[in-house]
């Protein structure tokens, strides 16, 4: 069973699926959706089987495949997963089918959803094809054990995401897509320079150049060179993660992306940055990592508070969620660069949990926007009375986002903080203050949209008082200075509760939030050996 090339299959199946979906004749939208869903479910099954085949006590990299690709430059098509990559693959496998389910009725003519201003119905065939292609690349980026191959997948991911944002996004999608692309490309090019530098170093040390991770890990690089190479990788990952102050592309991209794209963008794509810290920065450049750790920690902790405060100041729900993610990425970076097993394990778990919790938050926000047709918090009010299930799921997602005990995020945030405290008490204390801000931004949004009387785009039930005029209900402190296009005044609608399809989409995430909140140990058992190996590469004390 473990000889089966799971990783190759997990790349090939969605890639072929993407081609097949794109090749379907025009007008076969339903078939395209069904095919895409089927393919993504196959990948999910493969991911689960791979996890079963993975031996937590075994080698560092398992399920390996290696084929010479460009022999002249020592480039191999080499795949393999450690515990960290494996949990990320599980997350990829989980989120893509849910995203497809959530996007099921996007673009369907005559769907009883209100379309956000500035978006128009588009051929959903290509949407799903891009999604599947993105999935293939995402699997590749986590599974690559060859630095060059990693770089190729890292850059390739931009293309489908560019089209997902640029073709299927909101009113300012062109701006957002170009910004996203340029930002990532700049980081990618800097990383390319560092990748080539790494090759040069390996040539001079080993006599023969290589890109294989395991060989590069053994190199003994001069500290000065290490610092340069570290920065090359770090900038690319810090843009991708994103760390403050390289974050401003994310709110734009996440806000303009279609909900499915936003979920994958924040849930998985951004994790490549933090994954890269752990996989490449720490083991390859241990001296430089220790040298730069205080700087990264400052960025991380500043990011936690700064982004949380900004989240409070947003009036656009999708931007708000994007800023909460930036704040959470600060926690993850803190956990990684604290250099303790507990904190780094917590950080990896955080990556998974954040994908689940923020993914759910984005999905619910998307369902809200699909009903109300506006992204502005001020346009909503009193939704809980009309759509209690929607409100309940919103609350669960929000509570997971603010890391309430009993939800999955608590375990990871707790581990990050308790693990970094012994080594870096000041940073940990400052970051802990972030949990108050987390409660504030989530509950402010929840209260303004769900509680109170119906207003804005929410039509009052019979017997309630008249709703305020749509779009005029401005909250103090809720005005964002950005020129977010406000939806034209819309007619208020009655909010219907979650449909069966929507329940099917959110239910797995809600269940995972609660189950992983009580029983995180199975995941921790997968993650910890990989984290220990990474930290021993670094020569960390604990």
């Amino acid at each position: 069973m473990s000889d089966f090339p799971f990783l190759v299959a997990m790349i090939a199946v969605p890639a072929v699926g993407a081609a097949a979906v794109a090749a379907l004749p025009k007008g076969r939208e339903l078939l395209a959706k069904q095919l895409a869903l089927g393919v993504s479910l196959v990948v999910l099954v493969l991911a689960v089987l791979a996890a079963v085949a993975f031996d937590t006590g075994g080698d560092r990299f398992q399920l390996t495949t290696s084929v010479a690709w460009i022999p002249d430059f020592g480039v191999d098509f080499a795949l393999g997963v450690d515990g960290i990559a494996l949990v990320m693959l599980l997350l990829v496998g989980l989120l893509v089918p849910l995203v497809i389910g959530a996007s099921w009725e996007d673009g369907a003519p005559g769907a009883d959803t209100v379309r956000e201003a500035g978006t128009e119905a588009r051929s959903m065939r290509f949407f799903f094809a891009w999604l599947l292609l993105l999935e293939a690349f995402m699997v590749g980026v986590f599974a690559a054990t060859d630095v060059f191959l990693f770089y190729v997948f890292f850059e390739a991911m931009l293309v489908p995401m560019y089209f997902l944002i640029g073709s299927f996004g909101g009113p300012r999608r062109q701006y957002a897509a170009v910004k996203f692309f340029l930002y990532s490309l700049v980081g990618g090019l800097i990383m390319l320079a560092a990748v080539i530098g790494l090759y040069v170093v390996s040539t001079s040390e080993l006599g023969e150049g290589t890109f294989a991770f395991d060989a590069l890990r053994e190199l003994d690089i001069d500290p000065g060179v290490q610092k340069l190479l570290f920065l090359g990788f770090f900038v690319a990952f810090a843009i991708k993660a994103p760390l403050v102050p390289l974050h401003t592309w994310l709110p734009d991209s996440a806000a303009e992306a279609p909900i499915g794209g936003a979920v994958l963008l924040v849930g998985i794509l951004d994790k490549v940055g933090t994954f890269g810290f752990l996989r490449y920065c720490l083991p390859l450049f241990p001296d430089a990592s220790r040298y730069f750790a205080p700087m990264v920690l400052v960025l991380a902790v500043v990011g936690v508070l700064y982004a949380a405060l900004l989240a409070m100041g947003q009036s656009d729900m999708k931007r708000l969620v994007a800023y909460t993610s930036i704040s959470h990425f600060g926690f993850i970076a803190l956990g990684i660069f604290a250099f303790t097993t507990e904190a780094a394990t917590g950080a990896v778990l955080y990556m998974v949990n954040h994908g689940i919790a923020t993914g759910l938050l984005f999905l619910v926000v998307g369902m809200l926007i699909a009903r109300g047709g506006s992204r502005q918090i001020g346009d909503y009010g009193g939704v809980a009375a009309q759509a209690p299930k929607l409100a309940a799921v919103f609350l669960v997602a929000g509570l997971a986002s603010l890391a309430l005990p009993g939800t999955n995020s608590f375990v990871s945030e707790f581990l990050v903080l308790i693990g970094s405290f012994p080594e870096r008490p000041v940073y940990a204390i400052v970051a802990t203050a972030g949990i108050v801000l987390a409660a504030l931004y989530i509950l402010l949004m929840y209260q303004r949209t769900m509680h109170g009387p119906a207003r804005g785009v929410v039509a009052p039930l019979a017997g309630d008082g008249p709703a305020g005029p749509a779009g005029t209900a401005d909250e103090p402190g809720g005005a964002s200075a950005t020129a977010v296009l406000t939806a034209p005044a819309r007619t208020a609608v009655r909010f219907v509760d979650l449909s069966r399809r929507e329940i099917a989409v959110v239910a797995p995430l809600v269940v995972l939030i609660l189950v992983l909140g009580v029983q995180p140990q199975p995941l921790l058992d997968i993650i910890e050996p990989a984290v220990t190996a990474t930290l021993s590469d670094l020569g960390a004390t604990r």
């Binding site: 592309w249 700064y306 405060l309 009993g406 308790i418 405290f421 409660a439 200075a481």
Partner: protein, 635 residues
């Protein structure tokens, strides 16, 4: 700490205490409208079942050697050096709390069946109440600080959900949010305390931490003590985090009774009592506990004198009474038992008072304005009697429960036999006088005098499903103090937790203390009669009042201070940062992009299209290259 035996037999099943209400909540929340018809019964049954189980477990516990068992459940988080096991500690202290929570909880569930009968969302209400009971039991039964923290935030969530139960009212939604946020501020303290414990001791379990308290440096212990106190202040509405508790009265009245009077808000007292081994080693932190208790006691009592909202008066009374408990546990071994005894009796009479207030509101069409009450004694006889007994117990009328427990605290304070002792004792006695004043004022305005009812209000006594719990609680108000202090001393029962009973020094003879306190109490009652009972109560509150009254009406400006020190600067900071992010950080990026674009179009201007220009630049380039070659080869 005594060695703790692993649980066997019935006590091994004590996790069912938490599981039962949790399962109830899950069924009610997931079952949807299908469970509307019997949901309230299920909710009540699970809590009542938990109460029975708690009684059986406690009886069983009495026979266990050392009266303390450890119920190990499963590995919660284990990575690196951190090993958190989910487990329960059933010992006399947690048993007392489990009994209080499930006992009072059952009564309030029963009461709620009547109180919420006409609310379309009654099922949801019972689900949240069950959730609360489960989280609260986890808080007191957990065997580590992490388990306590999980329960701690769990009750915070339940409190949030229940305060915001009528969420279409903006005031309720805001109050719920405020409660959650202020609790979170306290939670940061608790979390940091746990981090320090792990960093210093490598463990978070009670056994591990308390077992090696002696190895810690004094400064570390003080830090832990103060951080725990911050957590306790947040949850218990103590100074400086007291402002959320009165607002929390936006929730349905049974919630105020259960969560914001009898159980959740006393969690801070539990935390400090549970952490006694830590506080025993750090006099500094303990002194701060004392100060917090004393200050809060007075703030609560003063604010309680000025409000016209019956629930807010009771809420400030709660703040004040928990101040007494903090004062007691801050005294150390001399005060732990006294504080816990007061906590238990307070649980009875304050829950009873809130249920009574709920009954009054029920009769008065949900009005809470005492200025529109009056003369209700005849209309609501059962409510009047039970409420009156609770009132007498609260003000410390001789031989009712508050009398015993409050006197014990004052005695313990005076037993310090130093200047602090006299100050604290004086504050506590003054507080007793103020308590008598505001409670008498409440009684007079509500039950006596002329009826000042709103037109169209026809008071009627509540149904028996509501009055029976009130009667039971009033019985507790009468007898609990005597039972806990004299008949079955709580001190003996808690001995395995706090050690040998502290030999009271009796600096001032107990009889003298009792007489003085009773005397001050009578002065308070008399003053209330002079100021309120003697004259006609105006229907609207007088506007021209002294600065003292105005300050008290504003709860000593706690909200104003919070707003001007935290909220407004925070909003300002947020707005400033949004501007910085858009104009500064993003502006720099966009500026860079615009700069690149601009310079490239400016460079493009050099491409004139004239062949001559191109030829000239080629020539110039060629000359430059030739010159460079010459310079290199000749130089």
């Amino acid at each position: 700490m005594e060695t703790v035996l692993p649980a066997e037999g019935l006590l091994g099943w004590s996790w069912l205490l938490i599981a039962l209400p949790l399962a109830g909540a899950a069924v009610l929340l997931l079952g949807g409208r299908r469970t509307d018809r019997w949901g309230h019964l299920l909710g009540t049954a699970t809590v009542a079942g938990a109460f029975l189980l708690a009684v059986l477990c406690t009886v069983r516990l009495a026979d266990v050697e050392g009266r303390s068992v450890d119920v190990d459940l499963f590995t919660f988080i284990s990575t690196g050096e951190l090993d958190v096991r989910a487990g329960l500690l059933y010992d006399p202290l947690s048993a007392v709390f489990a009994l209080l929570i499930t006992g009072v909880g059952s009564l309030i569930h029963v009461y709620s069946i009547g109180y919420m009968a006409h609310d379309p969302a009654r099922r949801r209400f019972f689900a949240y109440l069950n959730l609360f009971v489960a989280a609260m039991l986890l808080l007191v039964l957990g065997n580590s600080f992490v388990a306590l923290y999980v329960g701690w935030e769990g009750v915070g969530l339940a409190s949030y959900l229940l305060i915001a139960f009528w969420y279409t009212r903006p005031s309720a939604a805001t109050a719920a949010k405020k409660a959650f946020i202020m609790n979170r501020v306290g939670d940061v303290g608790l979390a940091l305390a746990i981090f320090v414990m792990f960093a210093q001791l490598g463990t978070t379990s009670y056994a591990g931490v308390f077992g090696s308290v002696g190895t810690l440096a004094g400064g570390t212990l003080t830090a832990i003590g103060l951080l725990l106190l911050l957590g306790a202040c947040g949850k218990s509405g103590q100074f400086p985090l007291q402002a959320w508790l009165p607002d929390a009265m936006e929730g349905p009245t049974p919630v105020s009774a259960l969560i914001h009077a009898a159980t959740m808000v006393t969690a801070g007292v539990y935390l400090i009592a549970r952490s006694a081994p830590i506080y025993d080693e750090t006099p500094t932190a303990r002194t701060v506990v004392l100060a917090v208790g004393a200050v809060t006691l007075l703030i609560g009592a003063i604010a309680g004198c000025a409000f016209d909202d019956i629930k807010k008066v009771l809420a400030y009374s709660t703040v004040s009474q928990i101040g007494y408990m903090f004062l007691a546990v801050g005294l150390g071994p001399a005060g732990y038992v006294a504080g816990l005894a007061h906590l238990l009796t307070h649980g009875f009479f304050k829950a009873g008072l809130f249920l009574g207030a709920g009954s009054v509101m029920h009769a008065m069409d949900d009005s809470v304005d005492m200025r529109r009450f009056g003369g209700l004694a005849r209309k609501l006889p059962v409510t009047f009697v039970t409420f009156g007994l609770g009132y007498l117990a609260l003000i410390g009328f001789p031989f009712l429960s508050g009398f015993y427990t409050k006197d014990a605290i004052i005695e313990a304070a005076l037993d310090r036999d130093d200047a602090w002792g006299w100050i604290l004792g004086g504050v506590a006695v003054l507080g007793a006088g103020l308590t008598a004043f505001y409670m008498t004022r409440l009684m007079l305005m509500t039950f006596f005098g002329r009826a000042r009812w709103e037109p169209g209000v026809h008071p009627h006594e509540s149904p028996s499903v509501m009055t029976v719990p009130m009667v039971v609680l009033s019985l507790g108000s009468i007898g609990a103090g005597f039972l806990l202090v004299k008949a079955f001393p709580l001190a003996d029962w808690l001995e395995p937790v706090f050690g040998e009973e502290h030999e009271a020094a009796h600096v001032v003879a107990p009889l003298t203390v009792g007489l003085v306190v009773t005397g001050v109490m009578l002065v308070g009652v008399l003053a209330a009669w002079l100021f309120v009972g003697r004259r006609e109560v105006p229907v609207t509150a007088p506007v021209r009042v002294s600065p003292v009254t105005r300050a008290a009406r504003n709860a000593l400006y706690a909200d104003t201070i919070n707003e001007s020190l935290v909220m407004r600067p925070g909003q300002w900071l947020t707005r400033a940062l949004v501007w910085v992010d858009n104009r500064g950080v993003d502006g720099a990026v966009n500026g860079l992009a615009a700069g690149l674009g601009g310079s490239s179009s400016r460079l493009g201007r050099t491409q004139t299209g004239f062949v001559r220009t191109y030829a000239l630049s080629m020539l110039g380039g060629a000359v430059l290259v030739a010159g460079a070659l010459l310079a290199v080869t000749s130089g």
